[in-house]
């Protein structure tokens, strides 16, 4: 994991959003903070919305 960048896991399917990698296929550049992803974004695997992602520590 790059410095200060974090990973977030979908509570319903386990999909991991890695801030270092972003989601270029969805127009989210590498390095994009989870907080900076648009609020209407949802899990690409199951549709779960941002509030139901947990920070991986």
């Amino acid at each position: 994991m790059a410095d200060g960048l974090r990973q977030w896991r979908c509570r319903n399917c386990g999909f991991i959003y890695d801030e270092a990698l972003g989601l270029p296929d969805e127009g989210i550049a590498p390095g994009t903070r989870f907080e900076d992803i648009p609020d209407d974004w949802y899990c690409p695997d199951c549709g779960t919305e941002k509030p139901d992602f947990d920070l991986l520590t």
């Binding site: 509570r11 319903n12 399917c13 386990g14 209407d40 949802y42 695997d45 199951c46 549709g47 779960t48 919305e49």
Partner: protein
């Protein structure tokens, strides 16, 4: 090591799930003594029993290594596996649906409906579903204080919701309910096609006849929605194109069938199980009425509690390792969601029904890319029903013995006799 024969025979026995304590006791022993071990019951090809929550998630998060569609997706005996291949021209499953395909085919098929069932996409349905929920609460109250909640409400409400979303006319609902019950409850003489106990051979024949009857029904659906497309799910399936081509016959029929059967039976089982839990715990209704903000906790716990899909099977694509056990390419694995959702390593009190769990990482919908497509709709329709129902009843208790379906696959309560008072 191999699981003791008695445990292996219990966890495949449909009757053990009808008396849930039997299956739970077997899995409790398995989790404590042999949490990932091979079972070799008579007449079946060997398979691993994956009983722990963490191992199930580990496997489900590796869909390229553990396939759904290389072997039967649910437990079949040797004859069943052979018959499926003979009937389908070589495929391991009678029905080619989302749960039995992998990789690009799975992604493409899932993508047809997925954008239409996200939480945001289904939000506009809330008012329509609430109207349906109110109708069924009215229906329940019309019984004047006693009903069989499974038969009178739990089987019917999710059926109406999903048929509305799919675009199936209301007059076809009894037909869809009957065929769904035949498909999932083949071992139960009360619900199967023949309405009697069947030999394994007759079960396979019966399953094929039900599948063919469903295909006959859906053949006209494709024609209707191609001529007059709507925004309903069956129309999306009928008109979907992947790489410029309509879905092939087996993909399309599989999609219609899984949406029209698993789309309500699972929620029906969970709803019936939730009422059963409620009726056995007199304090719970009062608590829910006083704390309506707990409703999500109630719904999530009822999903964990009932876990309507008892298992799915996977097969290993390559040699690998899970929790230190060597799994070989081709090995078949039973993911027991019922066991995973009672795992003592995750829940301190897994055999308690509790609405105040801080977290409830239940895996009844599966996990990973194959997680249930309709999970958000299921949660929403259950929340709405309970919101309406809690506001309208003052008390509820069991009014006799409940009964569970005889099945080891998708099942739950088939009779939940209750006595209740209106608010």
């Amino acid at each position: 090591m191999t699981l003791p024969r008695e445990l292996a025979e219990t966890i495949i026995d449909p009757k053990a799930y009808a008396q849930r304590d039997l299956a739970d006791a077997a899995f409790r022993t398995i989790r404590a003594t042999a949490p990932l071990d091979r079972a070799e019951p008579e007449g079946f090809n060997p398979f691993w029993v994956v009983s722990r929550h963490a191992d199930i998630k580990d496997i489900e998060r590796q869909p390229d290594l553990f396939h759904n569609g290389d072997r039967s997706t649910f437990l079949s005996d040797r004859t069943g596996e052979e018959t499926n291949r003979a009937l389908t021209g070589g495929e391991p499953n009678l029905i080619r649906s989302l749960v039995s395909v992998d990789g690009k085919e799975h992604r493409d098929l899932r993508g047809v409906v997925f954008p239409h069932v996200t939480p945001r996409a289904i939000k506009p349905l809330e008012d329509q579903i609430r109207v349906i929920a109110r109708e069924f609460v009215d229906h329940m109250l019309s019984f004047g204080g006693e009903c069989d909640f499974a038969v009178d409400v739990a089987f019917l409400y999710p059926l109406r919701v999903i048929m509305t979303v799919l675009g199936v006319p209301q007059e076809d609902e009894p037909f869809m309910l009957k065929l769904t019950q035949e498909l999932f409850n083949n071992a139960d003489p009360e619900l199967n096609r023949a309405r009697r106990e069947l030999s394994r051979e007759d079960m396979l024949k019966s399953l094929w006849e039900t599948t063919m009857e469903l295909e006959d029904y859906f053949a006209s659906v494709t024609k209707r929605f191609r001529e007059n497309p709507t925004d309903q799910i069956n129309s999306l399936i009928a008109n979907a194109k992947i790489d410029g081509q309509y879905l092939n016959h087996r993909q399309m029929m599989g999609y219609y069938i899984i949406a029209a059967t698993a789309g309500h039976d699972t929620t029906s089982n969970t709803t019936g199980g939730a009422m059963w839990a409620l009726a056995e715990r007199p304090h719970l209704l009062a608590r829910m009425k006083a704390n309506p903000e707990r409703i999500s906790g109630f719904v999530e716990e009822s999903i964990r509690w009932e876990t309507p899909v008892k298992h799915f099977m996977r097969s290993a694509v390559a040699d690998t390792e899970i929790s230190g056990r060597a799994i070989s390419a081709g090995d078949w694995l039973m993911l027991s969601y019922q066991s995973g959702n009672r795992d003592e390593a995750v829940w301190d009190d897994p055999f308690e029904f509790r609405i105040d769990r801080e977290t409830n990482p239940q895996i009844a919908f599966g996990y990973g890319v194959h997680v249930c497509l309709g999970q958000h709709l299921a949660r929403m329709e259950m929340r709405i029903l309970w919101e309406e129902l809690f506001a309208r009843i003052g008390s509820v208790e069991m009014n006799g013995e409940g009964q569970r379906t005889i099945s080891n696959f998708v099942c739950g309560p088939k009779h939940v006799p209750i006595r209740f008072t209106a608010q």
